[in-house]
Symmetry: C2
């Protein structure tokens, strides 16, 4: 059995949700169940390979569920596990912080664009400013 040694908790968190695609995948899944194709369309530029690979790792870490329907053509649904949902607040905060940061940089004259503010559910979320 291989041993894992961490110096600080955040190392473990980042091992699990870090990288280029995992935070994005999780930020979509926190809204509910999604099929593979939905995720692929929701995440422009991700390849089938990277999507599947990242989903497998998240599944192995107990963050997401993979539900396979035995039918043709195949149907697979992904969702956060109960444990994965313990990340909901963090994921939301990460999204919102980024949205505000982009807004801030835009104000400063940077050429920066956010395509989907899909996350905010704007009317239900009071901005603490």
């Amino acid at each position: 059995m291989k041993q894992a040694i961490y110096n600080i908790g955040v190392e473990d968190t980042m091992r699990i949700i870090g990288g280029k695609w995992k935070p994005i995948i999780l930020c979509h899944l926190k809204h509910g169940i999604m099929r593979t194709g939905e995720l692929r369309r929701a995440i422009p530029n991700i390849t089938q390979k990277m999507l599947t690979q990242q989903l497998r790792e998240l599944e192995d870490d107990g963050i997401i569920n993979r539900k396979v329907y035995s039918q043709i053509p195949p149907k697979v649904e992904y969702s956060l596990t109960e444990y994965g949902e313990s990340l909901n607040k963090i994921l939301e905060d990460l999204c919102v912080w980024g949205e505000k940061d982009i807004e801030r940089r835009k104000q400063k004259g940077e050429n920066i664009i956010l395509l989907n503010k899909e996350d905010v559910a704007a009317d239900s979320l009071p901005y603490a400013d």
Copy 2:
């Protein structure tokens, strides 16, 4: 001027605080001012090069301050900017989630160790490696 396009806020957040070392550096700096050497001792295994490089990038993104004292030998202090402090809650949550996750995995029999629950830390102590 180069253009930055994001599909979702979390992409920007991760660009700024993601990677192997930045979350760790920031989790230390959220406790207050630290000198370069303190950070180096607090983060075992980080090299001088990576430390400086990551600190520069965080500075460029407006997250941390770099205060240079004109003296020999040199003295440089790093701290979160006011803007950087808007990440405090997120950083704390990332740390705590990881600590709990490590505890959970340990209970499940995984061979996993957390050396410093850094929030009680004497994080300026020189650790032998």
